[in-house]
């Protein structure tokens, strides 16, 4: 009797302690009135007003979407481009957990965190774009499975992958909250989550491309091919890793105080390695582009304006970064590599927007150009993501390998013993 009362009181106390801990952690760290904070808060406030308008009066009130262009930048940029940028997580998980390339472990957590947040916020952005978001549960709870729909498969793989990324990241949360046992359990799930995560990723990355397969007569022939899904998959590898390089160089400055010893020491070595993989996959991508070009008899379009635009994308933002990556590797110059990564990212933006907006309905007399409201909401989504990212990085052990001290050997042994 008294024992259970004590147990109850103890667990109550734990809960209270955790509440106090949370409250402490919720407090901002660092200065509040920084330019970044002021600007992003302003953007987010404006976005709230825009969104009120959007839900009160419909999508037409704030967007330039039309019967001709059903998808604007909320899909083409936030989701289709953003998901490619978040591809680094599954690629790095593959390298570290499957191939055992331990060298990259220090950047693993931050990449997984980035990927996870990207997915959470992009699916959030997706809800803003849905005309009838209250029905979004239909394809999920199973009262309406459109199994022959590419969109259905993408949605499910997207959703499950977000869960896998959460599991992959969860040990960091457990460490932060001091839940040692849970951390061991969660860590035990990692390999499974990674394997499923890679599978789910390869399918939804390519699936985003497959969304356009039925738009065969709407996407300009220079961008349409039956290989779109494969192109999307391959480009997600160098897009994701370029994002890792790019973000790495930024968080190196911004979060210098949070960098672990390992990451500081190995940073340029890691960047060089990533650059090698980027160059390799870019090469494969170029090769495929050439095959598709010949196969699709695309030279017929090269003398048109669209041909030049195609060259801008594929020479300026695919071939050029490829050359820069190779040069950067040869010279061991992380600055050149950083430039290459940035160009690659811009190339991905171009490619995704070309397929879904710019070269989509290329024959239409009236073009889609986003409204300022659409741009502001997109910026607000990115801002919100950065806020959460910063909050987590400043509190959890993210920018380094998982610390050894958080779980003692004896803990693990005890757990194993009790399991046996």
């Amino acid at each position: 009797m008294s024992q259970s009362a004590i147990a109850l009181r103890n667990s109550f106390q734990t809960l209270l302690d955790f509440g106090a801990f949370l409250r402490r952690e919720m407090r901002p760290k660092g200065r509040i009135l920084t330019p970044f904070n002021v600007i992003t808060v302003a953007i987010m406030l404006v976005a709230v007003v825009v969104l009120v308008d959007r839900f009160a009066h419909g999508l037409g009130a704030v967007t330039n979407l039309s019967q001709e262009f059903p998808w604007g930048i909320w899909i083409a940029f936030d989701v289709i481009t953003g998901v490619a940028f978040a591809g680094g997580a599954y690629v790095l998980c593959f390298m570290v957990y499957i191939l055992g390339m331990e060298k990259y472990r220090p950047i693993l957590r931050v990449t997984v965190l980035n990927g996870f947040l990207a997915y959470v916020f992009y699916s959030g952005a997706l809800l803003l774009d849905l005309g009838r978001p209250w029905n979004v549960v239909n394809p999920i709870i199973g009262n309406s499975f459109g199994v022959s729909s590419v969109m259905f498969l993408v949605a499910w793989h997207f959703l499950l992958y977000t869960l896998m990324e959460f599991i992959e990241f969860s040990p960091a949360i457990a460490e932060w909250a001091g839940w040692k046992r849970l951390r061991v359990t969660l860590h035990g799930l990692t390999l499974g989550a990674v394997i499923l995560g890679i599978t789910l990723s390869s399918l939804h990355q390519s699936g985003l491309g497959a969304l356009f397969l039925m738009a065969r007569d709407k996407v300009h022939p220079l961008w349409y091919s039956e290989f779109i899904p494969i192109m999307f998959l391959i480009s997600s590898v160098f897009a994701g890793l370029s994002m890792v390089i790019f973000e790495g160089s930024i968080s190196h400055k911004v979060f210098h105080h949070r960098l672990g010893r390992d990451l500081k020491r190995r940073h340029s070595e890691i960047v060089l390695g990533l650059a090698r993989i980027c160059a390799g996959t870019l090469l494969v991508y170029v090769f495929l582009q050439v095959i598709v070009f010949v196969h699709g008899q695309r030279w017929a379009f090269m003398l048109t304006g669209w041909g030049s635009w195609y060259l801008v994308e594929n020479v300026g933002f695919v071939l050029l970064p490829l050359v820069l990556f190779l040069a950067g590797i040869r010279l061991e110059n992380t600055r050149v590599i950083g430039t290459a990564a940035l160009l690659t990212l811009l190339g991905i933006v171009l490619n995704r927007l070309n397929i879904s907006i710019i070269a989509f309905k290329w024959y239409a007399p009236v073009r889609y150009v986003p409204t300022w409201q659409e741009v502001v909401v997109t910026l607000a989504v990115i801002s919100a993501e950065l806020w959460v990212f910063r909050w987590i990085v400043n509190r959890m052990q993210v920018l380094d390998i998982a610390p050894l001290r958080s779980v003692k050997d004896s803990d693990v042994e005890r757990l194993h013993a009790s399991a046996a």
Binding site: G58, Q67, T199, L213
Partner: protein, 292 residues
């Protein structure tokens, strides 16, 4: 009289194809051209040479579907598109053979891209033939609009509770044994309703009977894998605002390969990755992390 027997044939045809069609709908779309005769759904034959351009069908459509009344007069020379307030429009084209009036609406494809695109099955090809839209299922993603080769589905951008709007072949009238409102109200009998095989036959008959009057093509027989709207015309269809560069293969077939590969990858890749992870582990020095 004729109408009643047509409906009966339809019911029979629908019943006999129900099982097969349901199977086909559950699985990924089949590759290849659909044989119009094999799937004998109801169809509408539009003979543009008979159309007077009176736009009675526009009015009948609006009335039957609770849509705002169509404009009284239209500007000549302007080609109107169907819209969220008008599911069917009649446009006049000046051609070498004089003016030709063309009624447009959803083509009710035999294998609709819109329905295969829809992840909630809100857009759905019913066993009876019409491609319908269900407001309780649709989440408004507009993927159907992106996928439809004829750009038919329209979206109510100015509503907080937007619907996808398009011709649904008056499915509720069909259920009651009636023909679509436009068909019933056409004073010139330019629109005829019946089983698709019969409509094709009727179209061919007319072409054979007056070969100098018609181009020798029934638009919709093969386009997009075959549609339930069939068109006759006196001039080539590209002069009448029709897309003639469309595939004769059904559009859902374009995604078949991808859809088939998904379960394979879902099963095979994890196994492969697990094996790879095991193999790679042997090659590396024991890891330093404690809980491995």
């Amino acid at each position: 009289m004729r109408r009643r027997s047509a409906v009966k044939t339809l019911a029979l045809a629908a019943g006999s194809t129900l099982v097969g069609r349901n199977l086909a709908q559950g699985a990924a779309p089949k590759r290849g051209v659909v044989d119009g005769g094999a799937v004998d759904t109801p169809a509408i034959l539009v003979d543009t040479t008979r159309c007077l351009g009176c736009r009675m069908c526009e009015r009948a459509c609006a009335e039957a579907n609770g849509l705002p009344e169509p404009p009284k007069s239209v500007e000549p020379g302007v080609v109107r598109d169907t819209s969220e307030t008008q599911w069917t429009v009649v446009n006049r084209f000046e051609t070498e053979n004089g003016p030709v009036n063309v009624k447009r609406q959803c083509m009710h494809c035999l294998q609709p891209a819109c329905a295969s695109a829809c992840l909630t099955k809100a857009m759905h090809k019913t066993a009876e033939g019409p491609v319908t839209w269900d407001p309780d299922k649709c989440m408004g993603c507009r993927f159907c609009m992106l996928s439809c080769p004829f750009d038919v589905p329209k979206f109510e951008y100015d509503s907080p509770n937007p619907r996808i709007m398009k011709c649904q072949m008056c499915w509720s009238r069909l259920e009651e044994g009636e023909v679509p409102a436009c068909v019933q109200n056409c004073p010139a009998k330019a629109i005829v309703f019946g089983p698709r095989s019969e409509m094709l036959e009727l179209g061919r008959e007319r072409i054979y009977a007056s070969p100098e009057k018609y181009v020798h093509q029934i638009y919709g027989e093969h386009e997009a894998g075959g549609t339930s709207l069939l068109y006759l015309a006196s001039v080539p269809f590209e002069q009448l605002g029709f897309r003639t560069d469309l595939s004769t293969e059904s559009y859902p077939a374009l995604t078949t390969e991808f859809l088939y590969s998904v379960p394979l990858v879902d099963i095979a890749l994890p196994v492969f990755l697990l094996g790879l992870a095991k193999a790679a582990k042997g090659r590396h020095e024991p890891e330093s992390e404690v809980d491995r």
